[in-house]
């Protein structure tokens, strides 16, 4: 284990890149979750929605040979589960944690079942193009340039969506309605905001983004599907949403830190610095708990989070 011959700049670039790419599915899923939670919906179904996005995205791309259709398929699958979540929690007012867990269990079972049933013994890779796009000039910045500006389309999209989500939440009518509905739905209702519609839309966005995150993994990043391939990323995204205090920029920061913690751990190993693997692996999870403990009480949580709204109409 000898790291003496390692080309440092390229190595640091790769470490950065690995951390950033690892953050992509987390950012995507957490942004959607932030909108959902801002509207009062606590969605524990992200893991299942991501898996659905990964599988159906993979399936669509596999059948059509088109990465674009694959990604759209993944988004659609997540969106459908998002609507199921909304129908049960908003319209039928069933407990959100229960429905979320049900969707996670169902999504895991369904995708695994279908993958085995459709592909039998095969583990096909997608033969689709998901090229890297080097952004002129920027990609030539030493170290950080290649890490940040020589990536795939969805990578840029994920980071571009951060200010977009921040803008939507803070400035647009929809964002205003989402914030109002998640804080004090009665007031929003009385002001003429359609609480049900707003929460449905928010759930749709949360589901679509989780689906997109899954599709990123299966279609863009790995070009394969595997049973349970999200390995708990949905739950991590849920935690990061809270660590980020429902603020897209802070969610980005939290996700990137999470990704970098992992790639830093890998980097240390590669450099031959002997740290116990188990401790490196669990560091990000402990980090989340510490971050939450530090931030507790400093972020103002959507007051109506997890609480169904009933106008009292039959």
């Amino acid at each position: 284990m000898n790291g003496s011959g390692v080309p440092l700049a390229a190595f640091v670039t790769a470490m950065l890149a690995a951390g950033l790419v690892a953050a992509v599915p987390l950012v995507l899923a957490a942004l959607g979750e932030a909108v959902g939670e801002k509207s009062g919906l606590l969605n524990l179904g992200i893991e299942g929605m991501m898996l659905a996005g990964a599988f159906f995205g993979f399936l669509a791309a596999f059948q059509t040979g088109s990465a674009v259709l694959g990604v759209l398929g993944g988004i659609a699958a997540g969106a459908v589960l998002g609507l199921v979540f909304a129908a049960l929690t908003v319209s039928l007012r069933v407990d959100q944690v229960l429905v979320g867990l049900a969707i996670t269990i169902f999504g895991g079972g369904l995708t695994a079942f279908l993958y085995r049933d459709i592909f039998g013994g095969q583990n096909p890779s997608l033969n689709v193009d998901a090229p890297r796009i080097a952004i002129p000039l920027l990609s030539r910045i030493p170290v950080a340039g290649p890490a940040m500006f020589n990536q795939g389309v969805l990578f840029y999209l994920a980071f571009a969506l951060v200010p977009a989500f921040a803008f939507v939440l803070a400035r647009t009518r929809f964002g205003l309605q989402v914030r109002a509905v998640g804080e004090y739905p009665f007031a929003a209702d009385a002001a003429g905001v359609d609480v049900t519609r707003t929460r449905y839309l928010a759930a749709l966005i949360a589901g679509s983004m989780a689906g997109l995150a899954g599709a990123f993994l299966a279609v863009a990043d790995l070009k394969i599907f595997q049973v349970g391939m999200t390995v708990g990323m949905g739950f991590i995204a849920l935690a990061l949403t809270m660590v980020g205090g429902w603020n897209p920029y802070r969610i980005l920061l939290a996700s990137v830190l999470f990704g970098l913690l992992r790639s830093l751990g890998n980097g240390l190993q590669i450099l031959g610095i002997d740290v116990r693997t188990e401790f490196i692996t669990m560091l990000p999870y402990i980090g989340i708990m510490i971050a939450l403990a530090i931030l507790a009480g400093r972020t103002s949580i959507p007051a109506a989070l997890g609480i169904p709204y009933a106008r009292g109409r039959r």
Partner: protein, 360 residues
């Protein structure tokens, strides 16, 4: 109302208990008579329990495929019980036995306790992995794999192939099999290329399915100038291959290679696949069937380079001849016993050994 509920619960509880007792008596009736050591048994059905899906083109698939082909050759029925997990697999074992399995292969080191116990209880012969202590005549056979031997050959191959002088090892956990192979690989690499650098990364704890994590780690190794990756990952291997394929697709990149373990992904990923460590169970499974028939079952069955149980996948045609020669030479040395590869299963000892071979 509450009192009624209480009664209901007690009724339910007693119903369960009654059933427990009943099932005991049923079991007593249909328990399979224990096989008698020494007497020959004809096996009508050979079964294998694998921890994950048989389709991972890895550990599970090698055993499942071997069972299929051995059964086909012997004209008996193969049964593959996949996805056993590391949970209690007794229900599966019982079901297989009830289905008529005459030999059950327990294809995970995690099964090495439950299977012998089940064999003792049911009389159905089983084969376990890496538990020589459990061997019982007529009942329990143990499979030992000299994986470090073939990993040594992979190391020689890597040492001769690398142009950057940096070779990476990526693992999805640190189970004994991976550790054996890491050490073997390191020794082979050192022997073939004394100046080489070896990188070592663990994706995560039990990250066997974490293809995304595997891809990240592999990308980092490639950036650290590795051009041959020895990857032990199961499902995670696909992430490593993806990383290498993307690396090679980039302009001006030095071509990187992948050496796989346990599985043949040549058809789909021949462009980056330098070779693969193959575990070929057909030989020993056939041997087990024969031994059962002869009444001599219940031994340690070893897969090594010599008997072809472990071997490298055929090397690419256009590989330099001297590389092929070096591998062949090492193989011969192992077969004739002039070369012994260290067998180390423990993660800490493995790391110590690697550090000794590749000091700072």
């Amino acid at each position: 109302m509450n009192r009624h509920r209480g009664r209901l619960g007690i009724i339910a509880a007693s119903a369960v208990l009654v059933q427990a007792t009943l099932s005991g008596s049923i079991l007593a009736q249909d328990a399979t008579p224990a096989a008698t050591p020494g007497a020959g048994v004809t096996v009508e059905q050979i079964a294998v329990v694998t921890p994950s899906a048989r389709t991972n083109q890895g550990w599970d698939q090698q055993a499942a495929d071997a069972v299929d082909s051995v059964a086909a050759a012997a004209g008996i029925e193969p049964v593959v019980a996949e996805n056993g997990g590391y949970d209690d697999i007794t229900p599966i074992l019982r079901d297989l036995a009830a289905g008529g399995a005459g030999l059950i292969i327990c294809h995970a080191s995690g099964y090495q306790t439950v299977c012998p116990e089940f064999a003792a209880e049911s009389g159905v012969p089983v084969a376990v992995i890496e538990n020589p202590g459990a061997v019982a005549p007529g009942l329990v056979a143990d499979i030992e794999t000299q994986a470090q031997e073939v990993a040594y050959l992979a190391g020689v191959l890597a040492g001769n192939t690398t142009e950057t002088g940096t070779v990476g090892v990526v693992v999805s956990g640190e189970p004994p099999t991976w550790n054996y192979m890491t050490v073997g690989f390191a020794e082979g690499l050192k022997a073939a290329n004394a100046d080489a650098t070896m990188l070592y990364s663990v994706i995560g704890e039990a990250a066997y399915d974490d293809a995304a994590g595997a891809k990240r780690v592999t990308e980092q190794q490639l950036a650290a100038d590795a051009d041959v990756i020895f990857g032990m990952g199961d499902g995670a291997s696909f992430g490593m291959i993806q990383a290498i394929e993307e690396h090679n697709a980039a302009e001006g990149a030095t071509k990187a290679w992948f050496i796989d373990v346990i599985g043949d992904k040549k058809v789909e990923h021949g462009d980056v696949l330098l070779s693969s460590v193959l575990f070929d169970y057909t030989g020993i499974y056939t041997q087990m069937l024969d031994d059962l028939a002869a009444g001599t079952f219940g031994d340690i069955y070893t897969m090594d380079v010599q008997n072809g149980g472990v071997r490298l996948l055929d090397l690419p045609e256009d590989l330099a001849q001297e590389t092929k020669d070096a591998v062949a030479e090492a193989e011969a040395a192992i077969v004739d016993g002039s070369l012994t590869v260290s067998a180390i299963s423990d993660a800490e000892e493995m790391k110590a050994k690697v550090a000794e071979l590749f000091p700072e």
